[in-house]
């Protein structure tokens, strides 16, 4: 106790101790400030990275789980429409619900919208073309989902 009091008096009495004390305080303050900044920056960067990577994995997983099959294409001839109708039957054979976004016939978009097909279910989409399908003609049909998967194939119209 006696020694501590003596030290304190010595510190007050000393002419050269102020700079050392300030230096120590400054160093500690800088370490704390820089460390806090680094921590905040690291947390932000890692959070952003984690968010982006999480979104990528999530999106890719959703896309990967999609599987669909065009079971049947029926070239229908509705009265008065002069062979402008096609009905396609699509089955969801994946592990995720699919949303049909567009249907293309011979690389021309003929249907757009959102049609949800649950896992294991089959649905049909009726198309109305702007021009008649040719009798016996080979037709290229592709079906695109909202997540970006495309199923395509060739079907022949009746003659």
């Amino acid at each position: 106790m006696k020694k501590n009091r003596r030290t304190r008096f010595a510190l007050i009495g000393s002419r050269r101790a102020i700079s050392t004390l300030l230096a120590n305080v400054l160093v500690v303050t800088m370490v704390v400030a820089l460390g806090t900044m680094l921590f905040i920056w690291t947390t932000g960067v890692m959070g952003a990275y984690q968010g982006g990577a999480g979104l990528w994995f999530s999106t890719r997983s959703e896309v990967m789980k999609e599987r669909l099959a065009i079971e049947e294409v029926w070239f229908t001839n509705v009265a008065g429409q002069d062979r402008k109708n096609i009905t396609i039957y699509i089955r969801n054979v994946g592990a995720n619900e699919i949303k049909i976004a567009a249907v293309y016939v011979n690389s021309t978009q003929v249907w757009t919208g959102t049609r949800i097909i649950e896992v294991g279910q089959v649905d049909r989409i009726s198309l109305t073309l702007t021009t008649s399908w040719g009798r016996g003609s080979v037709t290229y049909i592709s079906v695109a989902t909202l997540r970006g998967n495309v199923v395509k194939g060739y079907w022949q119209a009746p003659f």
């Binding site: 050392t20 990577a53 990967m64 599987r67 070239f75 003659f159």
Partner: protein, 364 residues
């Protein structure tokens, strides 16, 4: 210890820096572990879906001749029959749906999996190795009438739960002879040779009908012929030229006149020989393109195309009749030769096809 620490003039910054360093390292390590975990979950999903794809391509199924057996009339307009199939793949097939497409009426009948009602099927699980599996079908389709009413065949599609589709025509008309008599192959062209592959239409018979015996055929009746052709080449499409011709060489039973009626190719939208139903062939803007064979393993050799003949001269819609000498319903025989002129790999080719022999109005 505390006293010793408190008395030290250095070390506080180091301790704090070390603390921050450890915290940041732990955060980075945590991020890496999260990333590994996510990637592992994603890889598991990819493997799982690859397994699904592999199972799908392992499915393989054949329809067994004569495809439909055990037909019964159940009354009330319902009929039952068995569809015979064989599973030649490596995995059990679960039938999801059946489609019966009537080529004559363009009607589509959908048969669902069920055990009661109408238009349903049972016994849709087909184990690997089963060679004569019977899928029981109850439907309003009267398969007894095929093809007794003269209608063209059905195409039966079997859709599986994994998304594959297998199909067969019914009745199967390609004879089970030796060799390959179901086709005539010349160059890259393959001409289908079965009961339904050669058809005709006239102004009074507007639905394509097998042309082996054209009856009744009145002299002076314009006629169109339909031929099924496949491009077996897998390296290029084939474009047909307007010179393609279907020649009918007349043979009268009382003495061959040898006159030749030449029917030139017409537009693919033509249906029967009439002013607004038969169109000239435009080889520049709307030619017949026989698509290349997309699958070398396809036993048919490619995609079937219907080529139509009916014009009296190149690139016109002028109708043409068979030579029958006198009037009325004369009985004649015709030998058919076809000339096919086409462009393949940028070069012009031509081939004479010894095709078929048909007749008109013969009693048998």
């Amino acid at each position: 210890m505390f006293k010793h620490f408190a008395m030290r003039r250095k070390g506080v910054g180091t301790v704090l820096g070390a603390g921050y360093f450890i915290i940041i390292m732990l955060a980075v390590f945590n991020l890496i572990m999260w990333e590994v975990n996510q990637y592992d979950a994603y890889r598991q999903l990819v493997d799982q879906m690859n397994q699904v794809d592999q199972e799908r391509i392992s499915e393989n199924l054949e329809f067994v001749y004569p495809v439909i057996i055990d037909r019964e009339d159940l009354g009330s307009g319902k009929y039952s029959f068995n569809l015979t199939v064989r599973n030649i793949g490596g995995i059990t097939i679960n039938t999801a749906r059946l489609y019966f497409y009537n080529c004559s009426s363009n009607a589509l009948k959908i048969i669902e999996k069920s055990i009661t009602g109408v238009d349903y099927f049972t016994n849709g699980f087909i184990n690997p190795g089963e060679t004569n599996h019977k899928i029981g079908v109850v439907s309003t389709l009267d398969m007894n009438k095929v093809p007794a009413d003269g209608s063209r065949p059905f195409i039966i599609y079997l859709a599986t739960e994994r998304g594959r589709t297998f199909s067969s025509v019914y009745p199967i008309t390609i004879p089970k002879w030796g060799g390959n008599p179901g086709f005539i192959d010349i160059g890259p062209l393959r001409f289908k040779f079965d009961y339904y592959s050669l058809n005709y239409t006239t102004p009074s018979k507007t639905v394509p009908t097998p042309a082996w015996i054209v009856s009744p055929y009145a002299s002076g009746t314009s006629i169109m012929f339909f031929v099924t052709v496949i491009n077996t080449a897998s390296d290029d499409d084939i474009k047909l030229k307007r010179y393609c011709v279907f020649d009918c060489i007349e043979l009268a039973q009382s003495g061959a006149s040898g006159k030749i009626a030449s029917f030139y190719i017409v537009d693919k939208d033509s249906t029967w020989p009439g002013a607004s139903t038969m169109f000239p062939y435009d080889e520049v803007n709307d030619p017949y393109i026989l698509p290349r064979n997309p699958d070398p393993n396809n036993p048919q050799g490619g995609i079937a195309n219907i080529i139509k003949f009916g014009a009296a001269s190149w690139g016109t819609a002028e109708v043409k009749c068979l030579y029958t000498g006198g009037g009325g319903y004369a009985q004649y025989e015709y030998l058919i030769l076809m000339g096919f002129y086409y462009v393949y790999q940028g070069h012009d080719y031509g081939a004479t096809i010894p095709f078929v022999a048909i007749r008109t109005n013969t009693p048998t």
